[in-house]
């Protein structure tokens, strides 16, 4: 979440059924900001241990989690090592998926279909589809930036997590 992130137009209701919950661990506190690292929740029973693994390097679980760190306002006075429940609006997940994947794909396939109709050549179609994909990704970047400025993609702090609750969430997800 950017430092100057605005208040979302549709604030998350913590009791909403459309809320996708996840577990994150506090890895750093800087002033009124807190850095969180999402936990791997798919491995049964390993959720609590996954963040403590010492193995690091490209492609390892620790590395993958490190690149997914994010920042939140430390309104709850969190400290390093604490585990918290964060929430993302289900509609935000849908918007994000459509922006990142569906939009570039549709533009790419449309470009390919037009090129095939005109040129009837595999080579031209391949170039047109690659160009369509690049254009689609640029458009996705622009839309994602627009959604971010409206605060629609940011995760929110919901509550502190205890071990039982965290594992309940992981068992629901897997």
């Amino acid at each position: 979440m950017p430092l100057n992130a605005p208040v979302p137009e549709h604030p998350i209701d913590p009791f909403s059924a459309d809320l996708v919950e996840g577990v994150a661990r506090v890895v750093a506190v800087k002033g009124d900001r807190v850095w969180l690292e999402p936990e791997l929740t798919s491995s049964c029973g390993g959720c609590a241990a996954s963040g403590l693994c010492g193995a690091k390097g490209i492609g390892t679980a620790a590395n993958r989690l490190e690149i997914r760190r994010f920042e939140l306002v430390n309104a709850a006075q969190l400290v390093v090592g604490e585990r918290v429940i964060i929430g993302v609006d289900g509609r935000a997940l849908l918007k994000a998926s459509v922006t990142a994947y569906a939009l570039p794909l549709v533009i790419m396939l449309s470009a390919g279909a037009v090129a095939q109709n005109i040129a009837q050549s595999d080579g031209v179609t391949m170039i047109a589809m690659a160009s369509g994909l690049a254009f689609g990704l640029l458009l996705a970047r622009w839309i994602a930036r627009w959604l971010s400025t409206r605060g629609q993609l940011a995760p929110r702090f919901l509550r502190r997590a205890d071990a039982e609750e965290a594992c309940k969430i992981s068992s629901l997800e897997s």
Binding site: I67, G90, L105, M126, M129, A140
Partner: protein, 193 residues
Amino acid sequence: MQEYILLMVGAALVNNVILARFLGLCSFMGVTTRIDTAIGMGLATTFVITVSSMGNWGVEQYLLEPYHLSYLRTVTFILIIAGAVQFTEMTVRKVSPPLFQMLGIYLPLITTNCAVLGVALILVEGKMTFIAATLFAFASSLGYSLVMVIFAGLRERLALAEVPRLFAGPPIGFIVASLLALAFLGFSGISTT
């Protein structure tokens, strides 16, 4: 045009990747507890299957077939799929860090999804043109996403139902999946040839 529509309907419904070919069953059971996550996983898989199939088609046509290297097909395709997943991950991270935080979790799971490799191998058997192969891959993955979303919806309803303890959890999930497969069997009456 009609040829492409029939190809896509056949790939998405008649020969559905999950319910007719029984590929990608791990994610089918694992990521379908919520509709939101099923859509996220479905769209991510659709993107990777389509992009990697384009790469696989090119390598098959211009490298493996002309130089009689078809014995390297499986290894090459796995490499291309892993590359496509990596490309998608890097692109999403570059395009939008917030999107990557939300959707990045699904991407590593796709590398080991056998539906991706399965579609690539089916494409090779079909001897299709580039656009036909891409549309086939896109339609196959759309069929995959459709079944994921339908099944997630059923499981959300099932969570509210009173299921006997013996069947609770995965057993009732498999029973529902088999009923869904029977329903999809009805599409086999559609002639796509």
